[in-house]
Amino acid sequence: MTTAARLPAWRSDDALWADAHRHSPALPRPMLNLGAVALRQGDAATAEEWWTKAEQTGRLTDAEMRELKRMRCHAAILYGDPAVPLEHCSS
C-alpha cells in the first residue's frame, strides 16, 4: 500500500518536486525545481514566487545560486519586459 502511495511522485516533474516540497518544506531545491516546472508551463510569475521562497530559506548552495541565476535569465529572455536590462544574464 505504501509503495502504491509512493509511486505517483514519479508521474511527472511537477508531482516529484511537489512531493519533495511536502516532505521537506524548508529545503530550497524542490522550490527551485517547482519554479522551473512553472516556467516550462509558461507561468513566469509563479516561477518567480518559488525562486524567491527558495532564496528566503538562506540555504542555497553556490551551485544552486548559479542555477537560479540561469533560470531567471531564461525567464527574463522568454517573458521579461524588453525595456528592462537582463541583469540575471550577466556573467
Binding site: T3, R6, W10, S12, D13, H23, S24, L27, R59
Partner: protein, 314 residues
Amino acid sequence: MTAALYAPSLSWGYVYEDTVNLQMPLTWREWRAGITSPAVMPSRWLSVTMQTAIGVATDHDPFWQRLASLVLHLLNGTLLWVLASRLRLGIVGSAMAAGLFLLHPIQSEAVAAVANRTELLIALSALTAIWCAERSVWWLAWGLALLAVMVKPAGIVVLGLVPVWAWWRGLPSWTPIYWAAACCPIVLIGLDGVSGGMGMRLLWSSPAEAVLTATAWSVLLAQWVWPVGLSFDPDWANITTPPVVAVALGAWAIMSVLTRRCQWVALIVVWATVGIAPRLPWQLGEGLHEHHLYLMTVALSLGTGRLFSQEHDR
C-alpha cells in the same frame, strides 16, 4: 504482484534526470560522442548503451524504458529468491525475502525513475556474481562484478561485496587472493580520483561528515522498517552533531554485540557498510538518496526473510 503494482507507472513520462546529462543519447551518433566524452567514459558505458539501444529501438517511448527497469527489478527479485533458497530459508523465508525486496516502497525510486536504472544494473551484476561464486565459477563471478564498474562509478562496491559474501558464506574456494581482490575498490576509487576528483574528496572529507552520512544512512535504513516520509529530496538539516554522535556510538555498540551473536546481522552490517562506502565523501543533500539503498536492501531482505524461516542453518 510487483508487475501489477508498477503497471500504472509504465504509462508515465520521463522525470527529472531521465533525459539529461547524457543519460539518454537520442541517436547512435550521440551515443558515440557520449561514450568518448570524459563525463561518461568508461564508467557509464553499459547503462548509457542500454538506454540508447532501447530508446532508438522504441522511438524514445518512455513506456519501454520504464518496462526495462521493471523487468530488471523482477529479475533481481528472482535472483534474490534463488539465493534465499540456496541459504535454506525455506519457502516462507525465501518468499518473504524476495517479496520484501520487490515490493518495499524504498525501492520505488530506483524502479520508477529511468535514470536510476543504474542501481538495478549494479544489483543485477552483484546478484549474478554471487550466484556464480556460490557455484564456484569464480572467473565468471569476477567478470560479472566488473560489469558493475561500467554502469556507474559507485558500481565499484560490487568488487568488495563478492568477497564479503564469500567470507560470510565460508565458500570452499575462499583464499587470501580474494582479500586482495577486495582491495580493488580502494585502488579503483583512488584511480578514479585522478580523473574525477572523487579521491581528493575522500582525502579531504572530514570524519564528521562521514559520521553524519553514516547516520543519515541509518535514518534511511530505519525507513526500511517504517517507510513513512520517504522523499526524493530529504531534508538533512535537522540531523545535528549531538544526535549524530549519540546515534553513531549507540549503533556501533549494539552492532558490535549483535554481530558476535548473529551472523546474519554481521552480513547486513558489513554489506551495508561496504555498499555505502562510495557515498561517504559527498554532501548529504546531493549525495544520498533512496535509490542508493537498492543494493543494500539485498542483505536486509535476506536477513528479514531469515526471521520467517523454519530452518536455522545458513
